[in-house]
């Protein structure tokens, strides 16, 4: 066991972990941050997606020790001051989450996309989300939700407010 110091959602967490434990193991089993899911355990489905330094990664194939020194964001840190972000609101309103198992990963991947591009085309959305699989929705309402959130973010930016 080694003591890890991890920056997760802008807070420092200390966790005792073995060298072979993945970031997903530590998030779920040590820190009880169970919003991050797993579905396949080998980088095949994307349900475990979190952001590392702003980019989507698969936490089930990332060793926890390799996450030290990086900025990790999980679904638990997406809300700000308890307020839903536009992407979360749009997912809820559009029924883009059915069983919800892929939803945290979809929202993390969408967050990374929208941080770079608040006016993505449908193809750009499909590219950005292609590493996260959904079994319930057929993706149509997920794409609508990302488009809706992007619109809301652009409108807020035009007003000079914070998205």
């Amino acid at each position: 066991m080694a003591r890890l110091r991890l920056s997760i959602n802008d807070a420092i967490y200390e966790a005792d972990a073995r060298d072979n434990w993945t970031l997903n193991d530590v998030l779920r089993n040590v820190l009880d941050l169970t919003g991050t899911k797993r579905s396949c355990d080998y980088g095949g489905c994307g349900a475990c997606t979190v952001l590392m330094d702003g980019l989507p990664i698969y936490s089930c194939v990332t060793l926890a020790t390799n996450a030290e020194g990086h900025r990790i964001q999980t679904i638990e840190g997406v809300q700000q001051q308890g307020e839903l972000r536009p992407i979360q609101r749009a997912f809820a309103d559009r029924y883009a989450a059915q069983c919800g198992w892929c939803t945290p990963a979809m929202i993390m991947a969408s967050t990374a996309l929208l941080a770079e591009n608040t006016n993505p085309s449908e193809d750009e959305i499909r590219d950005a989300l292609s590493g996260v699989l959904c079994r319930c929705t057929g993706y149509g309402k997920i794409i609508l939700a990302v488009e809706e959130a992007a619109r809301e973010m652009r409108a807020a930016a035009e007003k000079g407010g914070r998205p």
Partner: protein
């Protein structure tokens, strides 16, 4: 029902109740439950498709520090899972001394942490004596085959008899009347539903009672099975299955993982958790059985289908995969009876279904059980009959289709003395709206006539499926109004993704004339909720929704009766709205519901039930699925450009949810059509594609946008006119794409999934004039 009534809540696009929690990480699934002092449990699985266990050596595993328990067949109760193992020819134990498929559980270990667990599982040594196997259903159905079971290999079939059959009229006379007879063979692989949360369970034993959290669609069936297999009374077992990360029928199998952690908890006194890997979910969940269908059908030049003869052979695996053990009864019956209800004007039918026991993983329900196993063959057949006589495929279907008020023949096939009238059939509307949306007139008049290597075509398929209305199924709800003004609906229905709790709140709010924010629900907890068979057979909004309406009506009647006594008013003078009792004549509020509940001693309770066999009418759902494709005849690649699915939903209680269910169902149908399917090693019987990417479920880059069309003509079988609609969108997709490929190329691709190699093989085969058919 021609003019739909106006409602305040029903029919609105209300935001799903659990949607926010799903998007913040707060929604808790079984896999997210971690209890203090909890042990982790892992199953050791068989590498053999059929073998007797000579010995299991567990000493080295038990000696490992941190190992809390080891269980083999020698340590588990000698009891069977299931309510009626004899009647259903099932008889599973938690572990036994024989294995019947690669991946079957043979032992379990429990340990303090996951690393010790892995090591302990590796230290268990099993000596197997391999036995002869059955890996091919058609060969397994022959009398000379190795017999796997005391009842034989053909599930439910007496010697020489099929598992299920549908015989009407006289096919010999029908074929004699035909101008054209078409014979083809249609094949479909076994398919896994791939719910994204692999199954898991957490158990806690307090010395008297066992609590099990489990990722299942059927908490009450699991409770009953757990009690049977563990030797407990049913009221000693509590099952909580509030949220599941997908189900699609795959999570209504016996799921012995709950029994395994239950045993560990009872032996050690500590909470225990198991959570399958994707490999385990694939192997020890269950699949829709794959089938080969030998079809022979006759038609006259003027478009009358004179006879349909089908022989279907399916892969049951060894164990049936349903909590009620009814796989072997339900799938064959629904295949040949339910599906032929759609074309009940075909006078002469002779269909035999052989569901054959093999040494493959379990077969069971997957979204549209029974229909999904058969409709590919029938909808391809309809296309091939239409093209044989130059008829419009939609017109040929409508000429033979079921109509409103026809009798439901399925009830006689299920052993009921009487049939019931079928409620409104909006199948013609599904086809008309689908034709309009896809641009039906643009299809090739002459299949395969387009020039160049990339050929465009349009095709369609019809569909029928139960829409919640099944005689054996029951749902109950209880509405409680308390003296603090709280209104709570208890129901036994897990949220596997259909957000039924939202729809139920809409129904209660509408019936009580209250804002939805005043209403809460509790669901899928066998201690807190009345019985519900769960989300199967498209019954959520239909069965549980009906029970919720009746529970609310019962609570209202009770409240009015109590208020009349309390206020000294005649009952007929009082009404309920906005949480108050009103004097109707003066529109004056007299008391709150909370005050009436206090007068009653604390609560007003209403109970409601849906019991399928007691309902006066029978509800079927219908759909028309239309596809537009480009086929590259040089590579065999199919580009599905558009998918339109028009579904007879009766009335959409929440259109956002109904659309989402249709889109998702179509996506799973697209997967079945284009890439999914289980591949087994023909020598060992081992599954070859148990890992996620090899299951080939569609990604954002594969899936076209689905155009969902809601056909809302009402349904007198439901208080708000709804029909269940979550399963039917799946089943028409594969035949619609196949028929579009035919329209584009003139080539019959008679096997799904329609991978490029199969498309190229079909093109080559038809170039040489070979025919895939065989006399049944």
């Amino acid at each position: 029902m021609t003019q739909a009534p106006e409602y305040a809540f029903v029919g609105q696009r209300v935001r799903p109740a659990n949607a926010v929690a799903k998007g913040t990480g707060a929604h808790k699934y079984t896999a997210d439950i971690n209890l203090p002092g909890m042990l982790w449990v892992k199953v050791v699985r068989s590498p053999h498709a059929r073998a007797r266990i000579r010995a299991i050596h567990t000493e080295e595993a038990r000696a490992l520090p941190g190992v809390a328990a080891v269980l083999t067949y020698q340590d588990v109760p000698d009891r069977l899972w299931g309510a009626n193992p004899a009647a259903t020819q099932e008889g599973e134990r938690i572990f036994s001394d024989q294995v019947n498929f690669v991946g079957e559980a043979v032992a379990a270990v429990a340990a303090e942490d996951l690393d010790v667990l892995e090591e302990a599982a590796n230290r268990i040594r099993v000596e197997y004596e391999p036995l002869p196997m059955v890996l091919d259903p058609e060969q397994g159905a022959r009398p000379e085959a190795v017999q796997l079971h005391a009842y034989g290999n053909v599930v439910q079939g007496a010697p020489g008899q099929p598992s299920g059959q549908n015989k009407r009229g006289d096919v010999a006379r029908g074929f004699a009347e035909a101008d054209v007879v078409v014979e083809r063979t249609y094949r479909q692989l076994s398919v896994h539903g791939v719910p994204h949360e692999p199954r898991g369970a957490v158990a806690q034993w307090d010395g008297q009672r066992l609590t099990v959290w489990q990722s299942t669609q059927q908490p009450f069936m699991i409770r009953n099975g757990l009690a049977a297999v563990l030797g407990l009374a049913q009221d000693q077992v509590r099952v909580i299955a509030t949220n599941a990360g997908g189900g699609f029928g795959i999570k209504n199998s016996p799921s012995l993982e709950g029994a395994i952690v239950g045993l560990v908890a009872m032996q050690t006194g500590r909470p225990a958790k198991i959570w399958y890997t994707r490999e385990e979910e694939t192997l020890d969940g269950h699949v829709r059985p794959g089938f080969v269908h030998y079809v022979k059908a006759g038609v006259t030049r003027d478009g009358r289908i004179t006879a349909v003869q089908v022989r279907s052979y399916g892969d049951n695996g060894y164990w049936g995969g349903n909590t009620d053990g009814a796989t072997g009864i339900a799938i064959p019956r629904d295949m040949c009876v339910n599906v032929m209800e759609l074309y009940n004007k075909i006078a002469n039918v002779d269909w035999e279904v052989y569901l054959v026991r093999t040494n493959h993983p379990r077969a069971g329900a997957y979204r549209a059980r029974g229909t999904g196993e058969a409709i590919f063959a029938i909808e391809c057949m309809m296309e091939d009959l239409a093209s044989a006589i130059g008829a419009d495929p939609c017109e040929l279907r409508l000429r033979h289709a079921i109509r409103t008020g026809d009798q439901a023949n399925i009830l006689k096939a299920r052993g009921f003395a009487d049939t019931k009238p079928v409620t409104i059939v909006a199948f013609p509307d599904c086809l008309a709206e689908g034709q309009r949306a896809i641009g039906w007139e643009r299809r090739n008049r002459e299949p395969g006539s387009a020039a160049g290597p990339i050929k465009r075509g349009i095709g369609m398929a019809g569909a029928i499926h139960v829409a919640g209305s099944t005689p054996s199924l029951v749902a109950e709800c209880r509405l409680t109004i308390d003296a603090a003004g709280g209104i709570r609906l208890a129901n036994g229905h897990p949220d596997q993704g259909s957000e039924l709790q939202t729809t139920l709140k809409q129904i209660v709010a509408e019936t009580l004339r209250m804002p939805m924010s005043a209403i809460s629900t509790i669901n899928a907890d066998t201690d807190e909720c009345p019985f519900d068979v769960g989300p199967i057979s498209s019954g959520g909004a239909f069965r549980t929704g009906t029970a919720a309406f009746r529970a609310t009506e019962a609570a209202k009647a009770r409240a009015i009766s109590l208020a009349a006594e309390m206020l000294d008013q005649p009952e007929g003078a009082l009404a309920i709205a906005d949480g108050q009792i009103w004097l109707e004549a003066t529109n004056e509020p007299l008391a709150t519901l909370a005050e009436v509940a206090a007068f009653a001693g604390g609560t007003i309770v209403g109970e409601g039930r849906y019991v399928g066999k007691d309902e006066p009418v029978y509800t079927y759902g219908f759909a028309g699925t239309f596809a537009e494709v480009d086929v590259d005849v040089e590579t065999g690649g199919i580009d599905v450009r558009r998918l339109v699915c028009a579904v007879d939903v009766g009335r959409a209680l929440n259109p956002e949810i109904v659309e989402g269910q249709i889109e998702g169902g179509v996506a799973q149908g697209f997967g079945t059509a284009m890439g999914e399917g289980m591949h087994y090693d023909p020598r060992s019987g081992a599954t070859l594609n148990q890992w996620f990417l090899d299951l080939k479920t569609p990604t954002t880059k594969d899936m076209p946008r689905v155009e969902a069309i809601l056909i809302e003509k009402g349904n007198e079988g439901h208080p708000f006119g709804a029909k269940g609609c979550s399963e039917i969108p799946l089943v028409g997709v594969a035949p619609a794409i196949r028929n579009a490929v035919f329209n584009a190329t003139g080539v019959h691709v008679d096997e799904i999934p329609m991978t490029p190699d199969r498309v190229l093989a079909a093109i080559a085969q038809e170039a040489t004039g070979a025919n895939g058919g065989r006399a049944p």
